[in-house]
Subunit: 211 residues, 3 copies
């Protein structure tokens, strides 16, 4: 198989503290590319916002998450959780009272996440969404670096799968058609594409009469 890499950056505008569901934004980006299976790394290029995966159904989850984060990293400073220290104010305060809390909230969550992609979609659970979590009061323009390493084709992985496909040539035809790029031959100026080679291989395995 031909493993390839695609890198890009996208920009997302936030307007206040809280969550932007970027699952569909990332899935649309993936679907606009030729690679369909691989690992994607997303790195938020800022230190006052996070990437996080959480519940996608009830907006109260996001409200509670945001309130909790404000309570555990308050703008006016912190005491120790066991109340044995006095209130400590932030020494890095030039950019406003929400700046240093945003840096702490970033380190308590994460700014870089890798996920699996299959069939041109992020592999997530039914109740999961991928969020950009803005920690600054006013938000900002937020850039995400995207790195996708993967390949263009669903491929026949095991001998038993090959046998299944031999017994179900309709299923196989669907896969071949879904992978077929009618312009591939022209683009490659006559060089065999992977799909050509896969088809040849399947003809070898299955015999000309079964497909």
């Amino acid at each position: 198989m031909n493993i390839e890499q695609i890198t890009d950056q996208i920009s997302i505008k936030t307007h206040s503290q809280g969550f932007i569901d970027i699952t569909n934004i990332i899935n649309k980006w993936i679907k606009s590319k030729t690679l369909i299976k691989g690992i994607i790394n997303l790195t938020l290029l800022h230190t006052s916002a996070s990437l996080t995966i959480n519940e996608n159904a009830d907006p109260r989850v996001l409200k509670d998450l945001n309130n909790y984060m404000k309570a555990i990293v308050p703008e006016d400073g912190f005491t120790s959780i066991n109340n044995t220290s006095n209130l400590q104010r932030y020494s890095h305060a030039d950019e406003g009272p929400d700046d240093m809390p945003a840096h702490i909230r970033t380190s308590l969550t994460t700014s870089s996440i890798s996920l699996s992609i299959e069939e041109s979609s992020l592999t997530l659970g039914v109740w999961q969404a991928l969020y950009l979590w803005e920690h600054r009061q006013k938000g900002s323009e937020r850039r995400i670096a995207i790195h996708f390493i993967g390949d263009k084709q669903r491929f026949v992985q095991t001998t038993s799968e090959v046998i299944d496909y031999k017994e179900n040539s309709n299923e196989l035809n669907k896969i071949v058609i879904s992978n077929h790029d009618p312009n591939a031959w022209a683009k490659d100026e006559g060089i065999d594409t992977n799909i050509d080679l896969m088809i040849d291989r399947i003809h070898d395995l299955a015999g000309e009469d079964t497909i």
Copy 2:
């Protein structure tokens, strides 16, 4: 070298809050595959449990971690860490008092982790284990998506290593034997495997008489 990808999902049953060491479960999964070196991405497909790496020796570490997490994200709600706010109860509470805390605990840890694999094993420190951390009281069936991108062979990386192997053919033979799959020729129906090609290449480099 031929980089390939394997994806799968596994299920793990949890019964209460706390940790399940999944290091050996993942290592067994890896050893059942043909790829031996690469990067693995593990994504827990749920929003009320986490993946985390921590100490593997003293069970009291896990007890303290669990108690700490219950103290920092309590079921009955939270005040700000500097005690300047009243108790806030969770607004997302339909699924029980342990549900919203579990979502928060998930965002304070992580549900997706990537690790290096060499010689068919996760690269971890001597005192590290990979844990599934259940945050719900009763546990649940938890699915983990696995994505392994890598290759089948330890490969000769540098010219100096090739020279070392030429001077130490026993060492080289051990590597070749450890990589040899006696059924590869049959599986591939006569097509040269990577190991065949590597052996041919080594014969070229070393001369027929040194191996």
Copy 3:
């Protein structure tokens, strides 16, 4: 394109709680390798220190982060954030009062991070640095496992880019020269390198007279 993998481990000595900026250490490691574009996974092989990305400019950010972490995970134990529990001391305390807090701080942050590499550099924002965050009082020798999967060449990705290059042969020549390894032929003992094949391909596409 030829995707390859490089694995290694590096050691970093810490002397006290706090941050060591390892951005340049990792970038130097990358630049010493032949791969120039890919995904890197860094796993800290310890359970009482973290990897984290945060602000690279004002040292007070790091001071505040460290103080906050000591306040939220104190050495003398914790109460619940809403003050409804008594002080709980750590049961895992044999290795000193800073040991169990260090394990908790590790799970609140992360010990494994993946990032994108382009042009032999980590893709980070202007204000981002990658830190090793030591959580023990006295520090220790800390090992990081590095896994780099990627390729050796910037490659021509789309048909439109090929056309651009055909119209701007100086730009193309710069890329080819930057990728050129004068010793590649010798290293490979006469076998065509990827750069040889790429040059051939470009000659085909552009016609001998345009380059």
